[in-house]
């Protein structure tokens, strides 16, 4: 899981993004127990305080919850996860559409291209 961080962005935000992808993709499932702060910190190669901050933020966004004695878990609320996927997808799409517009593609063209692409991939 160790990744190259972009040193220009806060590391805890990059960790949050990484964990969100794991949740959205189902690598981490609703109700899954998360490793301890220490273990996750080691896995990401960052210091435990940074990891703690990322967890706190994920808790605030209701994607993760903490049980006093047993640790941290991914939310049990499937709706929150669906919503997360939508948000991530929309964010990426916006970026993509912006670029396509920049190079002069119309929306219809974009849709056509995507269809062609997924056809040829099959």
């Amino acid at each position: 899981m160790k990744k190259d961080f972009d040193n220009n962005l806060p590391i805890y935000i990059q960790i949050i993004d990484e964990i969100k992808i794991m949740i959205a993709s189902g690598n981490l499932k609703a109700g899954d127990k998360l490793p301890s702060v220490r273990d996750m910190a080691q896995e990401f190669g960052v210091n435990p305080n940074t990891m703690q901050r990322a967890f706190s933020e994920l808790e605030r966004e209701n994607l993760v919850f903490a049980e006093r004695t047993s640790g941290r878990f991914i939310t049990n609320d499937g709706g929150v996860i669906v919503e997360l996927r939508n948000i991530l997808a929309e964010k990426e799409l916006e970026k993509f559409m912006e670029y396509m517009k920049k190079i002069g593609c119309t929306e219809d063209e974009v849709i056509e291209k995507i269809k062609n692409m997924s056809r040829s991939e099959k």
């Binding site: 040193n7 806060p10 190669g45 960052v46 305080n49």
Partner: protein, 231 residues
């Protein structure tokens, strides 16, 4: 969070030359703090003063709530800039010396790290490369269960591949109750492990901030900010 280090108005001079000027900062339990500055800015002097190796200074210097002395020396694990092992010694000798010297030395930890970094216990230190000697020394220092690790340029002669392992070793081998103060020029390679950055310039602290706040506020890496501050 309790503070492991509390420094107020610390100044130090060598004769007429003032090297540390009115330095104040704190380090809380569990924090990893980077001490950054160009050559001659006072990094080593600051660390040596905190380690109790330089006696004359003015100001208030407390580590683990005590003035510099026997207690603070026992809770600090200090990696000096230069290697100090005798060339005829082996890693095995170094381990037994550390075991005699430091009650908090964890022999098993040291042995495991030697294996992980493929260092031989029986090779004479004099025949090791500079990088190997640095690794050995870092292993010894990190194998103590100290409250404050002070590492002066621990990565200088180490190749990039081992650098990553060493950073991981540092993260793994300190606990939430201990803190690390690490000085280096190689900011880019080590940015990911810090909570806070201290920039020192001509003996003065010119910046003391959480690294993620720097990135958030300035959209800049610590390395980039460093280049700007020391331009």
């Amino acid at each position: 969070m309790a503070n492991i280090v509390e420094i107020k108005n610390l100044s130090k001079s060598y004769g007429k030359k003032s090297v540390l000027k009115d330095i104040s900062f704190t380090i809380a339990e569990g924090q990893i703090v980077g001490l950054f500055g160009p050559n001659g800015s006072g990094k080593t002097t600051l660390l040596k003063t905190m380690a109790g190796l330089l006696k004359e200074y003015s100001g208030d210097l407390k580590i683990d709530n005590e003035n510099i002395g026997i207690h603070t020396k026992s809770v600090i694990s200090y990696l000096p800039e230069k290697t100090y092992f005798d060339k005829n010694m082996t890693a095995k000798n170094a381990i037994s010396i550390f075991k005699d010297f430091y009650a908090d030395f964890n022999e098993e930890k040291a042995r495991n790290m030697l294996i992980d970094l493929s260092l031989s216990e029986t090779q004479k230190i004099g025949t090791m490369s500079k990088g190997m000697q640095e690794k050995l020394q870092l292993i010894m220092v990190m194998s103590r269960d100290a409250k404050l690790y002070m590492l002066d340029e621990p990565l200088g002669g180490v190749d990039p591949a081992s650098r990553d392992y060493i950073l991981d070793t540092i993260i793994k081998n300190y606990n939430e109750k201990s803190s690390i103060l690490l000085s280096t020029h190689l900011i880019h390679d080590v940015e990911r492990i810090f909570d806070k950055a201290l920039f020192i310039k001509n003996g003065t602290i010119v910046l003391n901030e959480y690294v993620d706040i720097i990135r958030e506020d300035k959209g800049m890496s610590i390395d980039e900010l460093f280049r700007e501050v020391y331009k």
